[in-house]
């Protein structure tokens, strides 16, 4: 039985183990993979790295590479049915916006679970999502959190 009756859930994914855990939690809550949308946010390209200067790295190629990673992630973890999206910009803001655009009811954030200075330095994506999201946000606690 699903925790949310037929409601969409957005999961920001950075392809870490924590992301996979968050996706499983989201599928369990939604009841079916089709109601779970995975989002990966890419920082805008700089103008000075060799790949960009020589035109070898483009946003199209980056998006294609990420979609390929999504395919692998889905295949290896049996997540068939979830939808995926690649966005460009500030991760916190973009995830909140992705949820709003898809009318999601909930965002499940895989957290690093750090405290003190570590939290100050690393935790701000989750915090930004919380600040900007129009829906509820569930921040998971990492099993090995300090």
């Amino acid at each position: 039985m699903s925790w949310l009756p037929r409601k969409k859930i957005v999961v920001p994914v950075d392809f870490s183990g924590e992301s996979v855990h968050a996706i499983s939690v989201a599928i369990e809550m939604a009841g079916q993979p089709a109601d779970v949308q995975l989002v990966h946010v890419l920082f805008p390209l700089d103008a000075v790295s060799p790949g960009v200067v020589w035109g070898e790295v483009t946003d199209e190629k980056r998006e294609a590479a990420v979609r390929e990673e999504f395919d692998k992630l889905i295949a290896t973890n049996g997540l068939e049915g979830v939808t995926v999206e690649v966005r460009f910009g500030n991760p916190g803001l973009e995830v909140a916006e992705a949820a709003e655009d898809s009318g999601a009811e909930l965002i499940v954030v895989p957290s690093h679970g750090y405290h003190g200075v570590k939290r100050f330095v690393l935790g701000s994506v989750a915090e930004r999502i919380i600040r900007h999201a129009a829906c509820s946000v569930l921040v998971l606690r990492r099993s090995d959190a300090e």
């Binding site: 990966h40 790295s49 790949g51 200067v53 330095v121």
Partner: protein, 527 residues
């Protein structure tokens, strides 16, 4: 991971902290001066304040990095230079003179003769593109201005030691860039992140020295950021201004105008994101190198009869310099220092660019990288040195003040213009482009280190500080900028060479394996 950010914040704040009290003190001094009725223009006051602040930092850092190490009775070598010489000699011997035996293979690889026909190797750019990117960072005012200063202060003999440093530097570059490839990270979007900070932390981590690796990586990243503000930025603005004011005298008293123009031009690329300008600048650099080398060759041909004397002066100066130049050791120090500043071998910076190349064999990119010091130092720097020697510009009393104030680019400009009338205009353009492309490339190095310490999100703050230093370069005196640049860039060699020494066994194993495959035909030419 976050420890490196905290450590970096501490080190950076200490560095900035050394500026602050001095600026206040300078302001007080200026206030008194203004009250006494002796009021220089506002811009001059700011120039002096910034200059004084640089001096303070240079003194503090210089006392550590250039600590005189006794090597013979009554003779000392600055710690940073001794470290570079030791590293370069060690890597050359340890890798079995890869700088010589790998040279031909390096050219073939760069020409794409060993490229994977499918083109599916991981990475962003071709070998040639990676080499061009690394060269655009190294071929800069160090080749034109730095060399002129070296020959003027160390005599013609400095040329010899610069070439030796270039040859040994090829091996150092090979090892560090192989490691850059070996320990790079490929992100989900296919982007590659690599460089000394990655091989120091991951490589030493693999050897069970993770803590040391992390400390060295942070130390390296902080100095690289400093280097990107100084040698890769302010020094370029400062010295290109020198050469350009030879053709636009207005700028001699209004350097800040040039600083402003450069700030805007760099700003539209690094903040405005206009990639096309960076792309053009980077692609024009090889052509400008060609023009520069060609002009130098023309000057040498015009003075054909002087060439034997020049070579005699170089060899004689290298082994029997007069006492004023500081003896053999003094000349050797100058030669090595300027060569390292120009080709960055042992410094670790180029590994950032070379790690982006597409290849399945880290050693292969290391080979490509060893062409860097060859082109930068053995070809381009030598050309500058020969022109300065052959024209006698280095001991011409007319240019004594340029030497004294380390205005090397102006010296090269006058020396070349005296032979090829009007060449100063071509040189001004070349110098501008070299400076510009070097700054763009170094902003990439600095930004990668900044992102390593503070995360990708912090990039904008780095870019803003970078632009501040572009402007500062136009108002600080050449001596202070050169010294500060030396400290940062040569300083990077401390953590880098230490880590690379510890990791050199891995490179040696990879090299032996690759070389064996190459010799037994397992690795073949594809074109």
């Amino acid at each position: 991971m976050p420890h490196r950010r905290i450590a970096a914040l501490l080190v950076l704040s200490c560095m900035l902290g050394t500026f602050a009290p001095q600026t206040v003190a300078a302001q007080e001094g200026e206030a008194k001066q203004a009250a006494a009725g002796d009021s220089p223009s506002a811009m001059r006051r700011i120039e002096k304040q910034v200059d004084d602040a640089f001096e303070k930092v240079n003194e503090k850092l210089g006392s550590v990095m250039f600590y005189p190490i006794p090597v013979a009775p009554g003779q000392t070598v600055p710690a940073a230079v001794l470290w570079l010489v030791f590293g370069a000699v060690f890597f050359t011997v340890r890798m079995g003179f890869i700088n010589i035996r790998g040279f031909k293979h390096a050219i073939l690889v760069t020409a794409g003769k060993f490229d994977n026909p499918g083109g599916h190797d991981e990475g962003e750019v071709t070998h040639f593109q990676a080499l061009t990117a690394a060269l655009s960072a190294t071929v800069g005012l160090g080749n034109i201005a730095g060399v002129a200063i070296a020959v003027s202060t160390g005599g013609p003999g400095a040329t010899f030691w610069m070439i030796v440093a270039g040859m040994l530097g090829m091996s150092a570059k090979f090892v560090e860039c192989t490691l850059g490839q070996k320990y790079r990270e490929v992100r989900p979007d296919g982007r590659v992140m690599g460089g000394a900070m990655y091989y120091l932390s991951k490589g030493l981590g693999e050897m069970g020295a993770g803590k040391l690796g992390s400390v060295l990586a942070v130390f390296f990243a902080v100095l690289c950021i400093g280097g990107s503000f100084a040698g890769g930025n302010a020094f370029q603005v400062n010295q290109s201004l020198n050469a350009i004011q030879e053709t636009i005298p207005f700028l001699a008293d209004n350097g800040w105008v040039y600083g402003l123009v450069m700030t805007v031009m760099v700003g539209v690329v690094i903040i405005g994101g206009i990639r096309r300008i960076a792309a053009i600048a980077e692609k024009v650099v090889p052509a400008m190198c060609g023009v520069y080398v060609l002009a130098a060759i023309v000057i040498l041909v015009m003075n054909f009869s002087e060439i034997p004397n020049a070579f005699a002066a170089i060899i004689n100066g290298a082994f029997n310099p007069n006492a004023i130049k500081g003896g053999v050791l003094g000349v050797l120090i100058i030669g090595f220092q300027r060569a390292a500043f120009s080709n960055e071998a042992g410094v670790g910076s180029a590994a950032i660019a070379h790690s982006a190349a597409k290849t399945d064999y880290p050693v292969r990119e290391g080979m490509v990288a060893l062409l860097g010091p060859f082109i930068d130092t053995i070809v381009i720097c030598t050309m500058t040195a020969l022109v300065i020697v052959i024209t006698g510009a280095y001991d011409n009393p007319e240019y004594a003040s340029l030497v004294k104030f380390k205005q090397g680019a102006a010296l090269t400009s006058r020396a070349m213009d005296s032979q090829l009338n009007g060449f100063k205009y071509v040189l001004a353009l070349a110098v501008f482009l070299f400076a510009y492309s070097t700054m763009i490339s170094w902003s990439y190095y600095g930004e990668r280190c900044w992102a390593y310490l503070f995360g990708d999100r912090a990039s904008m703050s780095y870019r803003i500080i970078f632009l501040v230093f572009v402007f500062l370069g136009s108002i600080v005196s050449a001596t202070k900028v050169l010294d500060f640049g030396d400290l940062m860039i040569l300083g990077m060699a401390f953590p880098n060479i230490l880590g690379v020494l510890l990791l050199s066994g891995k490179v040696k194993r990879d090299l032996d394996e690759y070389w064996a495959k190459l010799k037994n035909g397992e690795i073949k030419r594809t074109k």
